[in-house]
Symmetry: C2
Subunit: 256 residues, 2 copies
Amino acid sequence: MKSNIVKIAIIGSGNVAYHLAKALKQTEQNLVQIFGRNQDVLISISKELDIPVSTNKLADADLYIISVSDSSVEEVSKLIKNPNAIVAHTSGSLPKEILKGDYNKASFYPLQTFSKSKNLDYAEIPFFIEAEDKDVEAILTEVASEISRHVEVADFEKRKYIHLTAVFACNFVNHLFARAKEISDSQQISFDYFMPLIEETFDKIKSVTPKDAQTGPAVRNDKRILEAHKELIKNPEQLAIYEVMNDSIQKMYNLD
Amino acid sequence: MKSNIVKIAIIGSGNVAYHLAKALKQTEQNLVQIFGRNQDVLISISKELDIPVSTNKLADADLYIISVSDSSVEEVSKLIKNPNAIVAHTSGSLPKEILKGDYNKASFYPLQTFSKSKNLDYAEIPFFIEAEDKDVEAILTEVASEISRHVEVADFEKRKYIHLTAVFACNFVNHLFARAKEISDSQQISFDYFMPLIEETFDKIKSVTPKDAQTGPAVRNDKRILEAHKELIKNPEQLAIYEVMNDSIQKMYNLD
């Protein structure tokens, strides 16, 4: 089955559903419906992307992609009654067996953080595929390959570690920015001043490993500054982060 | 005194010294010498940037910029015997009083992480200036303004918080990448897959505050995933980071 004749329906109206719909549309795949609960959002997506939507009648499709919150995947999966269909969820942290129905169960996991208003280069987003058999795997790989240059098969165990890595490299990094801004705000220092530094921090790891790129007082084992910083910090969460991160840096370089 | 007639000497041959020299040269300021201990490095800088260098005779200058490791600043500052000179160090974490000599003491702090081999847009690097009086402050501000569009006066107290913020937003962020790569490497998952996600994490905070951009299991208060991740993590430093960061996220959003 060529991917452009696979009839695809997306279930969900959140950020992942929206961007998947947009990516499928841009690559001229056969997206027959977006199905969801939130009528206002669906109508707005329908207008923008020119895709049929529904809140009550799920279209007939070959592939259903479920992009809803992790806690709703199981319930939503029961809506699909077609035993020939492929049903794939987009979660990094659920097994395909969470899907409850008599059909081909699969996972179709795009590794990216999605905001509705932001344009993304879909070709660069890695997709991780899991299916019950090679035929379904091939179909999903073909659909994903229309969107992205990086498509790989990954079972649930592997997806769990991908998700965990993403939590460190994305969610925790963002939280460090939030705590950093809290510190600079407290002294009326514009956080904008730190953007070139942040950009360079990211840029560096394109050419050297993060382990080799490490700078700062902990890796220099500069005890004077480490102590002086602890004196400065008044917020207990900032202090806990400060201590754990420095300890982890020093352990990585065998400095303690 | 116009900045382009200020005779400038740089003391040091590390990454900060190199990039300052390059920035001063690019803006056609009057850089009369780079003075340092490491002859091989100095000769290579001299050849590349066409600037006089010396390891034993410090040139006569109006402004000496000391760019050496924090622990060497005091010792090096004693080399300068000219009471009319301005002597500025480039450290974010030292007071100007660390400088030991009878001259105008100052600080000239560029907020960036420097690697020798990387080209930087110097116009975007913020410079923080501190001096004993307004005249010297004006001269240093003029020199810095030739290089950068972002020059601000900041006393030692403010510089300490700037440095602390940078440790969170740069050093700790880089360490999270190092720990993230450790996790993905352990499962033979290419860390390259995470680059679009990391790029997007940075990109997001250009338009929304990091606090508003937060995603992930902690801010969703997804206890199932938080527990599952803890089961996955075998490395004690990774686990300590995981727990402290999630706790801090949940406290920031009042979820605990």
